[in-house]
């Protein structure tokens, strides 16, 4: 499959998804200018309930998929994910602090929870980077991995501490946030997420060949002329930024970052110049489809999108693991 084919799939998903849902709507009514927007239920379902949701799904899906590809190359491990280095945990911690302590600020249209979530992920990134760069020889992938695992564990402990302080209703809201939700209902959070994510993608766009090389080992890459320290720093930055933006928009949606790069590699091979853009596109399609399933399969109630990605992604990931170990 080529990148163009993945692109076509993404466009198809993006066009079909807002039309399909548990509530029947008529496209002609949606676009009927004669009806004032405030009275047009179909238009509101399309433009307020569904379209932002589909766009958010695409952003989150491509953001997590790209982060997954980059982390896997950086850590030289196809089982790595955006969660491995603790960036996701940092985002979750930020969100929980905002929810539990009833933080109620809004900056430029971004509300407290996504803002705190993003800051949390940035904080986690900073800590991992400092821990790993403390060794003057540069960031070796083992050191990075250990730093990330230690940070994840520490942040997990902080999360549990906060849950103790939280009262019953806050705990409910925390749990709800952690299930992930793409029902953004407005375009402001999408625009806010687009800024760091576009930056992360631009940076990641300079990396594909370098990712191929560093995945063969730091010395091997160095001897072929790669500035490995700089490449690792850039990879860490772009993948963490992408993860932080995605998680603060939709919550920690599991398995996308591991499973999508693998499916893509099975279809297009290992060359990152194809894998990176293909994963971005397929990640978007994957989450759009999972969200569509989540909101239609058990009408009138909805499943959390994280449940669907886990149900589809979990067994697949296990299969991959066994295949690799065999």
């Amino acid at each position: 499959m080529t990148v163009a084919a993945f692109g076509a799939l993404t466009i198809a998903c993006g066009l079909v998804a807002p039309i399909v849902g548990s509530t029947p709507i008529s496209l002609s009514r949606v676009f009927d200018r004669a009806i004032p927007f405030a009275d047009n239920v179909d238009a509101q379902v399309f433009f307020v309930a569904r379209l932002p949701r589909v766009i958010a799904a695409a952003l989150v899906g491509s953001g997590l998929a790209v982060a997954g590809v980059v982390f896997q190359a950086l850590l030289r491990n196809p089982l790595a994910s955006p969660d491995t280095l603790g960036v996701s945990a940092g985002a979750t911690l930020g969100a929980m602090i905002a929810i539990t302590f009833h933080v109620d600020v809004a900056v430029m249209g971004i509300t407290a929870v996504p803002l705190a979530s993003f800051l949390g992920s940035a904080g986690a990134l900073g800590i991992v980077y400092l821990l790993a760069a403390a060794r003057r020889r540069g960031t070796s992938s083992t050191v990075l991995l250990l730093a990330g695992v230690a940070l994840s564990a520490f942040l997990g402990a902080l999360l549990r501490l906060i849950q103790i302080v939280a009262d019953f209703t806050d705990t409910l809201r925390n749990v709800r946030w952690m299930m992930g939700s793409l029902d953004v209902a407005s375009y402001a959070p999408i625009v806010a997420t687009l800024v760091p994510m576009a930056f992360a993608f631009a940076v990641a766009g300079s990396l594909p060949r370098v990712l191929d090389l560093i995945s063969m080992g730091a010395d091997a890459a160095e001897s072929r002329g790669v500035d490995v320290r700089r490449a690792e720093r850039i990879a860490l930055l772009s993948a963490s930024l992408s993860t932080g933006a995605a998680v603060s928009l939709g919550g920690p949606i599991p398995f996308v970052g591991i499973v999508v790069p693998h499916i893509v590699r099975l279809l297009v091979g290992a060359d990152h110049r194809v894998v990176l853009p293909a994963s971005a596109l397929f990640g978007a399609s994957f989450v759009i489809i999972c969200d569509l399933v989540a909101r239609t399969v058990f009408g009138p109630v909805e499943l959390p999108v994280g449940t669907v990605t886990a149900i589809l992604g979990g067994p697949f990931f296990l299969w991959l693991l066994f295949r690799r170990l065999a």
Binding site: A38, A49, R50, D167, V184, E302
Partner: protein, 278 residues
């Protein structure tokens, strides 16, 4: 229902049982005990107990997910009120030979049942019956007031991410909030969804088209003045938004199915049918 009946039977067999050192890890039963004048018999309460203010002086011994078993036993209680689902705790108490009362949380009717049976178990039967009777009377009064009035399709929201319409949690067609709403003269717009809590999305709100939206806020430090209900204006086609019938009610009596439930139901009823209370 069966558990409550069985325990009530066991309690009456015990004949004028008295409990003097009671541990209650459930906010509802803590409130009930105070309401029936047995608050002075409490030696420890749960982590989430907030009412009445007297509970602040009592030691805390955990809640549903994290009961502090050793501390509870160390209190030397003669009755522990716990959730029916806490089988681990029950086993530990059986081993320590400490009697317990298993509480199950269901609908509005179960609240007065529980008050009566708990009262008998603790030994304040007369006061318990009085409290239960008062509640039933108040609820009957509300029912009769709103009886004939037309019922609006109402959405009862008890959680939402601040500043947005995300992660809306609403009451479904089961549970005491639903019963309260129906008693107060509202038609639960999610009445057909047989879940206590429903994760709502904006599409669902548009599809269900409630005439009234009531947001319940609990937190004590929650000093918002209701202006943040403006987020609902993102869905102007919803009848409740169009007719400006989006309201907020603040108070913990909406999350605790205890003795204050009648007062809470009345607040709901006054909002839905102001004319019935003139």
């Amino acid at each position: 229902m069966l558990v409550v009946a069985a325990v009530a039977a066991a309690a009456s067999i015990a004949l004028h049982a008295q409990a003097r050192r009671v541990v209650s890890i459930i906010p509802a039963t803590t409130e009930m005990l105070f309401a029936m004048g047995a608050g002075d018999r409490l030696v420890a309460v749960g982590s989430y107990d907030r009412f009445p203010p007297e509970v602040e002086k009592l030691p805390r011994v955990g809640a549903l997910l994290d009961p502090a078993v050793e501390r509870i036993i160390a209190m030397r209680p003669d009755l522990v009120i716990l959730y029916g689902t806490q089988s681990e705790l029950r086993t530990q108490l059986d081993r320590a030979q400490i009697p317990y009362y298993a509480y199950t949380h269901r609908g509005l009717g179960d609240i007065t049942e529980t008050i009566r049976s708990l009262g008998a178990r603790v030994g304040v039967t007369a006061q318990a019956n009085a409290v239960a009777g008062r509640i039933e009377g108040q609820l009957a009064d509300i029912r009769s007031r709103v009886g004939k009035s037309p019922r609006s399709k109402t959405l009862l929201v008890f959680g939402r991410e601040r500043g947005t319409l995300r992660n809306i949690d609403a009451s479904g067609g089961v549970g005491f909030l639903h019963d309260m709403l129906e008693t107060a003269g509202g038609a639960d717009v999610l009445g057909d969804v047989k879940q206590q809590s429903v994760m709502m999305t904006t599409e669902m709100v548009l599809a269900r088209a409630p005439d009234v939206i009531i947001e319940l806020r609990y937190a004590r430090g929650d000093d918002t003045d209701g202006t943040d209900l403006g987020e609902w204006n993102a869905l102007p086609a919803v009848p409740a938004v169009k007719s400006h019938r989006v309201f907020m009610l603040r108070g913990e009596e909406f999350v605790v199915p205890g003795p204050r439930v009648a007062a809470a139901t009345e607040r709901l009823a006054r909002l839905l049918h102001p004319e019935a209370f003139k």
